[in-house]
Subunit: 202 residues, 2 copies
């Protein structure tokens, strides 16, 4: 990818298209801030479509996040039960959290794991990235595998509430299969971890 040079840094997504994708690519024209709340930052960009027509693209700008597949010595993985307001219920998910502005993803993963669960890990490996909602959010989630877990004290915010439990990979696969786990980042992280530890199996 090469930059077009036409777009001010940071004013839109990285939409400099690979040359061979120019028949699919949309070109940035202008950007407008719609809403900047405590959590959500909503923008509306005007773009030019491949056919030369104009369109608007509304989406969420997000600093990115980290998600951790934390593995105990017995092979079980660390999960959380947390109430997710937009879902209206408690969800089962891997530990995860938002990057602080400019924060290194691995540092964020280590910080979030410690804060939310109390655990720190001796060994960390990247499992790549995933994009939770490509239609209307620029969020990228960096996925890590952590092992050599050592228990410490969690440091939850006073307004943060969650429960921890551990489950075997087979138990997690069963929970994914029967819809007890529906969280996209958790299923994606589990799938990526399975593929990278047992290539050829999935």
């Amino acid at each position: 990818m090469s930059d077009t040079g036409a777009q001010p840094r940071g004013s839109g997504p990285n939409h400099a298209a690979i040359a061979e994708d120019s028949h699919l690519a949309e070109t940035f024209v202008s950007s407008e801030e719609i809403f900047r709340g405590k959590l959500l930052h909503v923008v509306r960009d005007t773009v030019t479509l491949p056919n030369g027509r104009s369109a608007t693209r509304e989406y969420i700008k997000h600093p990115g996040a980290a998600c951790i597949v934390a593995e105990f010595e017995d092979g079980k993985l660390l999960l959380e039960r947390q109430y997710r307001y937009p879902m209206g219920k408690v969800m089962v998910e891997f530990p995860a959290g938002k990057l602080d502005s400019g924060e290194n993803p691995l540092v964020a993963a280590q910080r979030e794991l410690k804060e939310e669960t109390g655990y720190w890990a001796r060994s960390w490996h990247t499992l790549g990235q995933m994009h939770p909602l490509i239609a209307y959010a620029d969020e990228v989630i960096h996925i890590f595998h952590a092992n050599g877990l050592v228990q410490g004290d969690a440091k939850l915010d006073q307004d943060e509430f969650l429960e921890l439990f551990a489950a075997t990979p087979d138990e997690i696969a069963a929970m994914i299969a029967d819809n007890r786990i529906t969280d996209g980042k958790t299923i994606t992280a589990f799938c990526r971890w399975q593929l990278l530890r047992r290539p050829g199996i999935v």
Copy 2:
């Protein structure tokens, strides 16, 4: 789950918590519309936390979507290459689309597959649901497996641009493993399909 009765229908998510989760659950107080655009509908709710304190929850309201794992007779799966503006690049993903208001998810899946790819399918099976972004969107994606594919003509909107290709499950697994596929709904749908067709393998 039972309704609290305190909440006007449709004014917030279904946050009547299961009794055993009351120590984690947040309770709806009020809702405020922030933005209603062409695509995004942003609301900010005030809630009561389990500790009795007040908090706000900003999130996207979404009508839901359907995603299709469409399988050819030779075992290959149908994929799309589509420019996703918030990502700034072409993404590889399964066919998917938003539900029209009140639309049955299977009907939406059949409509989207036909419109985007031209294919219709003789046989459909549910692969459950997934939630792409539980922190700030109420969107649910209904996942379907389709086979017995018959080719027809796509009916893309004049402002919609995409390419189709087919890949074997092994090729898709390799693309997930090495970060060529990072779309959460696609990885989740692939994982769910693998688990339900070959239980015990993943």
